[in-house]
């Protein structure tokens, strides 16, 4: 099991563009959470998906949206990119029915907005 995988590893976009990041959860996991980690900061929760629906959301604008597929993989979409969206985007997976289960993190996608 490769654990949580994310693609692409790096991405460069310009202001105003749109971006889609992808995440495959750890085998057996059904819940995917997304975090944004700006330089020098800790990860900040964006949202969490379970059963193909957004279950929880952090303090991020509507420009940030997501999707979960029947195979539990997930996408994070960001519209109208701003310079401040430059960050490492982390995906984490977990198992919903086991409240004791922790989140396993992927390696992240580094997004640079010029």
């Amino acid at each position: 099991d490769a654990g949580v995988t994310q693609s692409p590893t790096h991405l460069i976009k310009t202001r105003g563009q749109q971006v889609t990041l992808r995440c495959s959860p750890k085998s057996g996991h059904d819940t995917v959470s997304w975090y944004q980690q700006a330089l020098g900061q800790g990860p900040q929760f964006i949202f969490q998906y379970y059963e193909e629906e957004e279950r929880q959301r952090g303090n991020f604008p509507d420009r940030f949206s997501g999707h979960q597929f029947p195979n539990y993989s997930s996408e994070l979409n960001v519209n109208a990119l701003l310079l401040g969206d430059s960050a490492l985007y982390l995906c984490a997976s977990s198992l919903a029915r086991d409240r004791r289960e922790t989140q396993y993190f992927g390696p992240g996608t580094r997004l640079l907005v010029l």
């Binding site: 969490q48 086991d98 004791r100």
Partner: protein
């Protein structure tokens, strides 16, 4: 609102010396506290959680609800402990986590 504070951005400790990384939190309910670690060129991974009461790689952390703290300690630092450490707060392990800004620990040989 949930908040996690890690007052030290950088901490340098000699090999063999004790280590303490500080973490304070604010939360109105019953918190679950975690320490995550990120070694160089590796992904973020769980080090320990307070409900487990385990010692992982010699590290321990005690939840002090009176002082709202969850400091990470190790009696004798090793070179392989050099890494970025994040304290995190959540309701349960699989729900939203609130992270601190992290402490970069460097062990001096």
């Amino acid at each position: 609102a949930q908040r996690v504070t890690q007052p030290e951005k950088l901490l340098s400790v000699f090999k063999g010396a004790p280590v303490e990384l500080k973490c304070n939190y604010s939360y109105s309910g019953s918190p679950e506290l975690f320490w995550y670690v990120q070694y160089s060129r590796q992904r973020l991974q769980l080090l320990l959680r307070h409900i487990s009461r385990e010692s992982i790689k010699g590290f321990t952390a005690d939840l002090n609800k009176g002082e709202t703290s969850f400091h990470l300690k190790k009696p004798f630092a090793q070179e392989e402990d050099s890494a970025m450490y994040y304290c995190a707060l959540g309701n349960f392990g699989n729900e939203k986590l609130t992270f601190g800004t992290g402490t970069r620990l460097t062990i001096i040989p």
